[in-house]
Amino acid sequence: MEFANSIFLWGLLAVPLPVLLHLFFRRRKAKVAFSTLQFFQQRKRYLAHRRRLREILLLLIRTLALLCLVLALSRVLFQSMPYALSAKTNAVIILDDTLSMDRKIGSGATAFELASQKAEEVLDTLSEGDGAALVFVSGRQGLAMTRKRQLVRQQLENARVTGGTGSYSAALKQAVSYLASAGNPNREIYVLSDFQRNQAPSKPVELDAVKGLRIYFLPVSGTLENLSVENLKLSPRPQMVNKRLSIPYTIRNHGENARDTEVSLTVGTETRNTVTVTVPAGEATEGHFDYVPDRAGFLSGAVKITDRHLELDNCRTFTVNVCENIRVLLLESDILSRVRPFHFLKLAIDPGEGEALNGIQTEQGFVQELAPKELEKHHTVVMANPQPLSTQTAALLTHYMVSGGTVIVFAGTDVDDKTFASFEDKRLQHLFGAKQQADFNGLQFKGPLNALNALLQMDLLKWQRIHELTLSPSAVVMAESRGHVVMAEEKVGAGSFIACAFSCRRDYCNWPELKSFPIAMIHLLTYAAHDPQQNTGAACGALLRLTALSPADTHIALSHSDGMLFRIPVEKGEAVFADTWQPGVLTAERAAPRCIAINPVPAESDLACMGSGKMTDIVAASVTVLKTDAGVESQIRTYRQGSDLTGFFLFLALVLLLLELVVGNTYLLSGRRAETRTGKEAE
């Protein structure tokens, strides 16, 4: 409770005046012996204690009336939360800059623009010496507590809606940390947001206790209608020149009305295809574009729709690394061996020297010389009769597989259950068992290679030896013979490990001599091929880690599809890029990955908002919800000062004075009416 005109509080000294006057002029009672009291018994209402009660009541009324008058003059301000009017204030503005704030509001502006305007109004309520800070819900760098409000204004003017999502919890905690370190006694947090339902925390945010903290929510509402393009799921397999590239898309309608929209495919800067689709309310429509790249290299494009309600999620970008051939690395493990383990395999898949007649280009390497960069260049790694792997090699291969690569291992005479013991994945450690004698013919393809059964005659295949494969329940059998699994795939991360229970030479079976072998191997390698440079892109707000191509590089140059250029310092060969707030395509020079599609966070496209009850549950503290359609400045000043109770106290004083007139009127209460009646009767 505060007093706007505290000088009038001196008037409180006059409040006991009625009591003092009463005591000063108090009447002394006379004692009289009387014959009988029977005539008074019927007149109880004239008893002195009744009059005394009335006097006390009058005294109370007069005292209260004086008190109310003094309080009214003092302008009592009732505050639900403490706020020292004479002290300085620190205010933190939490501005929601997530994707959903790009929604249109009634005036045609975006919710973010309105929120920024309201934030400036909040700043206007601060006076000289007050501190202000700016925190973005998306997690983007804001502004720490400062007394230079102009800096905050500039930051607000430069702020843009991001394509990312955000966390109220993190923003509130950031705000509290700003306030806790500041000295002013009045502490305020303003959250300007659309309070999107998807952003609601699972439980109320517990804030550190900050004395005198007031939290204001300013909800900015807008349209709930929205169409969005969901993330494009391009195939992770290598995309080849002159081969059809399928670009599947999904258009989701988050609104309550069915909508028609144009969907277009843009490659580079050129629109290649446009279709019109109808998306039912609350549902999604799927489709795909086909595009045939005519040259190798990185290709970037986008699928766009036309939706005026929220424009930032109308476009999803993609990047594709178009290759000339599938690059296969044939890894040998024994440098000194004179045996050429890949002789038959190379003849089968890449018979020419560098001509890649089958669209597969092989390169040979040694396990001992294996490097990450070498692995990233190849779509598949093949090992034949490997020696037991070192831990380092196992780790490299694991990383390669986790990031999407495929390792194909052909067994051999040196392979046993200890060959892959250095893998951390227990499924792979003992995948290969002991070799066994085999005396049977034929092979049946399964799973992804099942189509080959109709194409190839496999009964000519004669088995002499075969390794036993110990598979996990999740393993996919790709081929078997007489109940023996001869080819199986274990998924490892985004990639896989394909184990072949036979050698790719003639020492286990006669398959390498058969005509079916090259066809089966080409299919196998094509199936296994994965483009390690192909990336699915990143969500707005995510940290990007870029690897410099040369250790000598100190900076990495990045260009954004909207024209912005960035120069990122490199530390230990790696650069971290955090300014991924705007959707588009980032292209790096002399860094990997080279092209990255930055897309909005899909969850932000659903514009449904929290109700007022749910809104206040965001934080485990008392929250005041301000009205957007009214002047924020006046509301804040009212809440700071509290409710002015002058009118109430004046009214109360008036009522008390009227009551005093009624109670104090002896004509009404003392029984002198009887005198009047007697007079009339006498007449």
Binding site: A30, K31, V32, A33, L47, R672, A674
Partner: protein, 299 residues
């Protein structure tokens, strides 16, 4: 309270006032002594009453021969006996009678009146008795007409002190049983205990054909209620204390007490009894004179 002597009670001025007053009973009373009061038994005294026809058995000496000579019929003369009557003074000595100033409170005033009546009756050669009561009968003097008796009554009055609670009804019943039929009963009280039992007790007197004269002695305080401001009233009989705003309740009190006195008067009128309210502010002899003048008009 100072004890009044009989000379104090009957001042020369008072006696001088009473000298020319004759108290005549309203109704004929039965008496053994010849006096001013008319006897219901027609005798043969000096005052002629009426004629009646002679009946066999009447003494021949009472036959009026003159009337026989004129009318040729036998008539017997009847005479009205003037006999002494019994008068009982009933004095309320309850605590409520102590209201008033120390020198002159209601009880003193009632004592003066009683003494005056005792003297008056003695002068008329009427037998006088005395009862004093509050919630019970304290003293009882049978009616006699000797001077010594009168002096002893006056002496007794001198020594009385008002105290105790008032409950007239049982006392009156008892007194009514003691008094002779057709007696005069003079009651001096403030009569603040009027209730149905009290009325019944008065009817008891009526039943014995007594002439009852009620003197209600009130103090000017009771009649005028001159109090101002906050007053703590103490009941003289019960000791009960009541704090009142006298200004607030004056009118209501005065209305109530007037109505009470009026009701008493009406009640007594219905029972053929005399009721007189006397204020102690008025000199008691003047009140007595006024009473007798009033009585004289009735006869």
């Amino acid at each position: 309270m100072s004890s009044p002597t009989h000379t104090a009670l009957l001042t020369p001025r008072t006696l001088d006032t009473l000298k020319n007053i004759e108290m005549v009973a309203r109704a004929m009373v039965e008496g053994t002594l010849t006096g001013l009061h008319r006897s219901p038994y027609h005798g043969f005294s000096s005052e002629f009453s009426e004629y009646r026809k002679y009946c066999p058995g009447d003494p021949v000496k009472h036959v009026d021969w003159v009337a026989y000579a004129k009318t040729d019929r036998y008539y017997v003369k009847q005479y009205e006996d003037e006999t002494n009557t019994r008068t009982y003074v009933v004095l309320d000595r309850s605590g409520s009678m102590a209201l008033g100033s120390a020198k002159s409170h209601k009880f003193h005033y009632a004592c003066y009146l009683a003494a005056a009546f005792i003297y008056l009756m003695h002068r008329q050669k009427d037998a006088v008795g005395l009862f004093t009561y509050s919630d019970k009968i304290h003293t009882y003097f049978p009616a006699q007409c000797s001077r010594v008796h009168m002096l002893s009554l006056l002496s007794h009055l001198e020594g009385l002190v008002p105290e105790g609670r008032s409950d007239a009804a049982p006392c009156f019943h008892r007194i009514a049983e003691e008094v002779h039929r057709r007696s005069i009963v003079l009651v001096f009280s403030d009569f603040f205990d009027m209730n149905s039992a009290f009325i019944q007790s008065l009817r008891h007197f009526q039943h014995k054909s007594c002439e009852v004269i009620l003197f209600q002695v009130l103090d000017p305080m009771e009649l005028e209620f001159p109090f101002r401001g906050l007053i703590e009233f103490r009941d003289l009989e019960t000791g009960e204390i009541l704090e009142l705003e006298s200004d607030d309740c004056r009118e209501a009190y005065l209305t109530d007490i007037r109505r009470y006195v009026q009701n008493m008067k009406q009640l007594c009128g219905r029972m053929n009894m005399s009721f007189e309210t006397l204020s102690t502010g008025t000199a008691f002899d003047r009140a007595l004179l006024a009473y007798f003048h009033k009585r004289e008009k009735l006869f």
